[in-house]
């Protein structure tokens, strides 16, 4: 019964998403410490075990299924910390989200961005 807006092609992160995606986002939030980043990189699966992830969330993280992470309650600002660990840019993610290569996505931005409606 939330009044959260529904906007096509857009994730609007709300209170229910926070609840649903909590463990996933929490895991990503720990990457604000170099020590945690190293621990994750040393043993990704073991690191995941420390959080109360759903099996789907765990798989999405380990397989870097970025769309799935968002679908499972991830917030782009948390998920992006994982992408950073992988040295992936927001343009790389943009390509994934829109079915383009990174180069195509960057070219669209340079041409003035993508237009809707």
């Amino acid at each position: 019964m939330s009044s959260k807006p529904v906007v096509e092609g857009t994730y609007v992160f709300g209170i229910e998403d926070n609840r649903r995606g909590y463990a996933l986002n929490k895991l990503c939030s720990t990457f604000t410490s170099a020590e945690n980043r190293q621990l994750f990189q040393d043993d990704e699966a073991g690191y995941c075990d420390k959080f109360d992830l759903t099996p789907e969330q765990r798989t999405a993280i380990l397989e870097r299924d970025w769309v799935k992470m968002l679908d499972l309650g991830g917030s782009i600002f948390y998920i992006f910390k994982l992408a950073q660990l992988d040295k992936k840019s927001v343009q790389y993610l943009g390509g994934i989200f829109t079915g383009m290569s990174t180069e195509e996505f960057i070219a669209e931005l340079k041409a003035g961005g993508r237009h809707f409606g």
């Binding site: 009044s3 959260k4 807006p5 906007v7 096509e8 092609g9 857009t10 994730y11 609007v12 992160f13 709300g14 209170i15 926070n18 909590y22 986002n25 929490k26 990503c28 939030s29 990457f31 604000t32 410490s33 170099a34 980043r37 968002l70 917030s75 782009i76 600002f77 948390y78 992006f80 910390k81 950073q84 660990l85 927001v90 343009q91 993610l93 943009g94 989200f97 829109t98 996505f105 669209e108 931005l109 340079k110 003035g112 961005g113 993508r114 237009h115 809707f116 409606g117």
Partner: protein, 284 residues
């Protein structure tokens, strides 16, 4: 009595900070944006405030998923620069202004704004990038103390545009009631149109941005009537950050002078803009 001397609206895209940190501002990609900043930087260098208020949002760094405030004000004497996932930005520590910040909190709560008090706070690119836009070469220290004013834009429901403007107006009154004769600048940060995720990732809406860039000076009331849904629809899921410009605008007088502006696409995935406004002499 303290007074607001100018207001700066500026994007706070992390890569704008990274371009400065990595000396890339003269690259083909970045030079149009930084060239656009120059007139504002020159003017601000001659109109130096004693303290700046930076209205911004945290990006999953200092504010936890567990407890998300709508509005928070940083009252600490020192705000460490956050490690956002790739080490802290190589910029000076940010010093606060506890006395004015405390006055702001007390005044705003008296005026029925339900402020969260950030007694301790790390600051992320949302605050440090605007500081770098203002002062690209701070050396060992930023030119003046900073008061962080945090707005939730990450989790729906964000505050309404109307509430953000009203907060700004109350901040303006609080500054006028501060007994010390100090000069204050206020930054409204974030935007312009951008969306990082979903099928609409890469969204830019120059028409909306140009309208907003004009009306933030001439008709902010019109911008307060725009719903959160419309901000998201028109400016993108992250473009709703623009509501933070309304806090800055509300704190200034009804008539303000545009010193300079610049608009550039893209800065990373974002339409980036800067607009600098001098406050009018007398409050209205």
């Amino acid at each position: 009595m303290a007074e607001i001397i100018w207001g700066l609206a500026t994007s706070h895209v992390p890569s704008i900070g990274a371009a400065m940190d990595n000396a890339k501002t003269h690259d083909d990609y970045w030079s149009p944006l930084f060239d656009g900043y120059q007139p504002a930087r020159d003017w601000m260098a001659h109109h130096t405030p004693d303290v700046v208020l930076i209205v911004y949002n945290d990006h999953a760094n200092a504010i936890d998923l567990d407890l998300m405030p709508t509005f928070a004000i940083g009252t600490a004497s020192h705000f460490p620069v956050a490690d956002e996932g790739w080490g802290p930005r190589p910029v000076p520590p940010v010093l606060g202004h506890p006395d004015l910040a405390t006055h702001l909190v007390e005044s705003l709560i008296d005026e029925e704004f339900d402020i969260t008090v950030a007694n301790q706070l790390q600051v992320d690119h949302g605050l440090t990038v605007p500081l770098s836009v203002y002062t690209p070469e701070p050396g060992d220290a930023w030119p003046c103390p900073v008061i962080p004013v945090l707005v939730n834009v990450l989790q729906y429901p964000q505050p309404t545009a109307k509430r953000c403007y009203a907060l700004g107006q109350a901040i303006g009154r609080a500054i006028q009631s501060y007994p010390d004769n100090i000069k204050v600048a206020i930054f409204g940060t974030g935007g312009m149109s951008h969306q990082l995720s979903g099928e609409r990732a890469g969204l830019i809406n120059e028409t909306f941005d140009r309208m907003f860039l004009e009306k933030i000076q001439t008709d902010p009331q019109a911008l307060t009537q725009i719903s959160r849904e419309e901000y998201i629809r028109e400016a993108g899921s992250e473009g709703i950050e623009l509501i933070m410009w309304l806090v800055m605008r509300g704190a200034m007088n009804s008539s303000i002078t545009r010193i300079t502006e610049t608009y550039h696409v893209p800065a990373s995935n974002t339409a980036a803009a800067l607009a600098l406004f001098e406050n009018s002499e007398s409050p209205s």
